[in-house]
Symmetry: C2
Amino acid sequence: MLPRGRPRAMGAVVLLLLLLVVGFFLFGRDPEYGLGTTATLDEKPYGSRNRSASSSQLLLPSKCEVMLHVAIVCAGYNSSREIITLMKSLLFYRKNPLHLHLITDAIARNILETLFRTWMVPAVVVSFYDAEELKPLVSWIPNKHYSGLYGLMKLVLPSILPLSLARVIVLDTDVTFSSDIVELWALFDRFSGVILLWLDRLQQTGWEQMWKLTAKRELHTLTATSLADQDIFNAVLKEHPNLVHPLPCVWNVQLSDHTLAERCYLEAADLKVIHWNSPKKLRVKNKHAEFFRNLHLTFLGYDGKLLRRELFGCPNQFPPGAEQLQQALAQLDEEEPCFEFRQQQLTVHRVHITFLPHQPPPPRPYDVTLVAQLSMDRLQMLEALCRHWPGPMSLALYLTDAEAQQFLHFVETSPVLSARKDVAYHVVYQDGPLYPVNQLRNVALAQALTPYVFLSDIDFLPAYSLYDYLRASIEQLELGSRRKAALVVPAFETLHYRFSFPNSKAELLTLLDAGSLYTFRYHEWPQGHLSTDYSRWREAQAPYRVQWSADYEPYVVVPRDCPRYDPRFVGFGWNKVAHIIELDAQEYEFLVLPEAFSIHLPHAPSLDISRFRSSSTYRNCLQALKEEFHQDLSRRYGSAALKYLTALQQSRSRA
Amino acid sequence: MLPRGRPRAMGAVVLLLLLLVVGFFLFGRDPEYGLGTTATLDEKPYGSRNRSASSSQLLLPSKCEVMLHVAIVCAGYNSSREIITLMKSLLFYRKNPLHLHLITDAIARNILETLFRTWMVPAVVVSFYDAEELKPLVSWIPNKHYSGLYGLMKLVLPSILPLSLARVIVLDTDVTFSSDIVELWALFDRFSGVILLWLDRLQQTGWEQMWKLTAKRELHTLTATSLADQDIFNAVLKEHPNLVHPLPCVWNVQLSDHTLAERCYLEAADLKVIHWNSPKKLRVKNKHAEFFRNLHLTFLGYDGKLLRRELFGCPNQFPPGAEQLQQALAQLDEEEPCFEFRQQQLTVHRVHITFLPHQPPPPRPYDVTLVAQLSMDRLQMLEALCRHWPGPMSLALYLTDAEAQQFLHFVETSPVLSARKDVAYHVVYQDGPLYPVNQLRNVALAQALTPYVFLSDIDFLPAYSLYDYLRASIEQLELGSRRKAALVVPAFETLHYRFSFPNSKAELLTLLDAGSLYTFRYHEWPQGHLSTDYSRWREAQAPYRVQWSADYEPYVVVPRDCPRYDPRFVGFGWNKVAHIIELDAQEYEFLVLPEAFSIHLPHAPSLDISRFRSSSTYRNCLQALKEEFHQDLSRRYGSAALKYLTALQQSRSRA
């Protein structure tokens, strides 16, 4: 079966091939290059150097002297996810510096800018181009899907890429490399005479007029109702066959049930690029599907941080911030007892915001986003959370690359989760032994799009009415205009996996009296919620103000622009306490809401809490972090911070 | 810093190089080959085919016609783990069929036989050779470590490998490939004239006499107290320099703080093999350490099942069982609601038994091994379990390749766990969406080495005295000689993460009466332990017999040769119930032990139990599994199995 919109007669071995060839002649306009000499831009000449090659073998430009240019059109959430697997396979085999030219919509740009900034791959330059600018040039072509427009943009890439760019390889987002892209780049040289020829012709005819004419004729004579980019490429090149120099088929092995592709790879000794352009994707019943699938899965689950390696034998080509980071890491003392903590604090995690399609909430003045973070072992909380919180959520997930794929599968197979488009999932990729809890919270918080946020934890289920109640309370208390306040949502806990969630405060109090519910950490850590004053809450009819006290860590609703969590707290302990101190130091009022509640469900202690309990080093390091935090507080708030230090010293003398 | 036992003067670029060269001339004894023609063994000729190569380029034998031979000496638990990373890197890049010649001790053989059998990589043949046979040939050489003997065995490999083997590449276990091994194999051709020469010389002098003489002289004249294999290689080749043709250094880039290696890879365009022979391993401060480390980490965490792909363009070369398995999988209907269950049941997981060093328990007639299985999210149970159970354990861990490395780190950094050598950890590698609970239990059960096993679950902590008490009870009840019995260990649960574990039955009963403890799943699933008869247990002074009843699933002590768990039960539900039915059907008596108990600690519901609760398909599939199980029971036990079916039908009509 061939993908929709591509004429069957053209067979399966066309798309990428044409794209590459197009990239070839459209952008081969550096006149020096055209005259048979070498390119003189950001590449050094390589045509003349080192090994002699037999006629059947390609000249491979060696190592790092040559910068390769790759252009990709990428729009929307799913393509932004796909492109990462392509990038991993490309980066795994490449040995040259790379300049990516990404033509993106606003969504993809937002995602990919964050991703590449945090990925910090040496010797990769990324330039973004706004796909909006290209839309008018192709929007006159009838197209079946909105997304088809992005495909058509490949026809007009020259009008957006810099004129100085002599050559570029154009790729679809759904290809996987199984070899070094430099081998593909080297094909440019092989056909340089041909390019010269084409340039002449292009000057005479003009590519733009050519494809437009063809497209219009196709629309008229064939009474086509829509045209995809491949349709136009195919039609133009059918009329001008001398424009095409077919690439060896190994450079575009298309995965489909069709047998043309198979003929290619049975004869070839080697594959270079696999193109996942069958709508059946991984499930395709190709004889060699297993080979293809495993290669694809290899890079799908590949730990992207391993690609942060420097290019072998090249001078350092650090991405922004990487050099300072490396120096800071190098200065750490491996023998120091808290080395692990220091290292974890400095770790820059790759971040993939809005990993799944997402509809941002409409702008509403009192809207609240639930903010939380989780790892794989709390995935089963998501469905219940969706039932309890009908509003927007911003969740950071701490996952490996392989787990991110499992998570994708989990959401796709859950009717509850796949129905919710107002939940934004942000993947923070795992790196290091300590859980970077506050870094995760900050990622989720930064991506909340409503004016208020409910800072919760993943193992809490809010009262069914909480979302509505919070919005009403924010409006009533006029938080937006005059007060700087943190609304406290009192926290409870159950020890039973299955229990009837109370539908009202009255029901909750009954359960509390019956001993089926407790106030949160009543047994282990009562000071965490002492200030909330549960006995006052029982009777309260209106919000009441409470004062900060040592180790207070309530769940609060605050404006989105509230202080960030202190990322130095990694692993277990004190991560929320420090944030509440920060709120108090910045003079947020703590107002307890009389009808609000949230209930913690039981789970096993995390690995970090177990380490905290069993290791005195761990506890000492946490103590050191606390002290450094207080030093910073004193620096920033002066004598106003004295009360926190006093409280810390008192708690230490008690311990 | 150079590794122990290697003369500093020889620098860092020797070991693998020499090994390869040794492989070269020692085994290049096919006379045909020596006369300059091509090898005629299990390889087809490749010297004459396809592409012409320039003088500086190597002829690469194409694809699958050429079988490559690799020999590795591997002994003990740690080398058996190391070799897997080597194998993954080798298999990732290779395009040829491979014959592995593994010279192993009993430990490595046990581990690697299981691993390769379950790995099922196409076009890989594995032959094992007993290292014991080689020991007498080298044991006269004084050596610093017992393990050094295995290094010396490389000197005498010819005496154990088949005479028909013309050429073999000899590798250390601590190398990582970064290219196709066929390129290394191709070097044989390049030096064929040289090999001919060497063969002549070897005929005259004899390699065996040569190295023995040298070794003896070294021992005398240099008053050496010990010799490692490298010392001897170095000495022989110093005396006979014309025996050596140095390999290009890219074929043995040694990772060390030494700068000789750096000189190599700064000049080279490409690396082929990285040799992890520095004792500092991953922490080495080499300028390019990051590149090396990431390549190594790539394969350390690489999902080995992705290497199950067939060789590209080669005729099928199925490992044993793989073809039938593929057929069975192909026959499954993807649209069937229980497809996921069917697929999971057929999945063959890679199994790495005794992943960490282990001391088997001394043979004792009444000894009991605790058998359980877990995944990453229960790791924090291990330390507590070790404190509660001082006896041998056999634990199956369901992990990804990357998690297995985290697990290794976890054990190494835990004083409690690293002190215990009587706990055997068996890694079963993850594959598929449903937890293969009974397959895991069977792996752990099969590896128990004592006459009795305590079949427990990872989230239970046994009474401190249980290990001693069970051994005494087995002896007293004379289980070994006459009775076929399953000793029942009554199960309780706490809902609190932290609680004081009762030191006696009396203390337990007090907690039970106080409502701090419950009988296990008292609220959710009382029938699971109904037959245990807790009120009788309160008063019991002696073991008492109980009868099977529907859904009974106690934790039991049975002889090691008890029936296996039914692997069809994947995911949540009925996995222990079916096993207890099997015991009852085989007429095991259930004897409840009056002083035995075990307590379940709280944890969040697993993903599988959540899916069971939320998905009617999941529940229906479990029901279908139950029915198939009963059909099998009837076939095997006839009318005796009727009572189980009746119970099932009754429970269904109640539901």
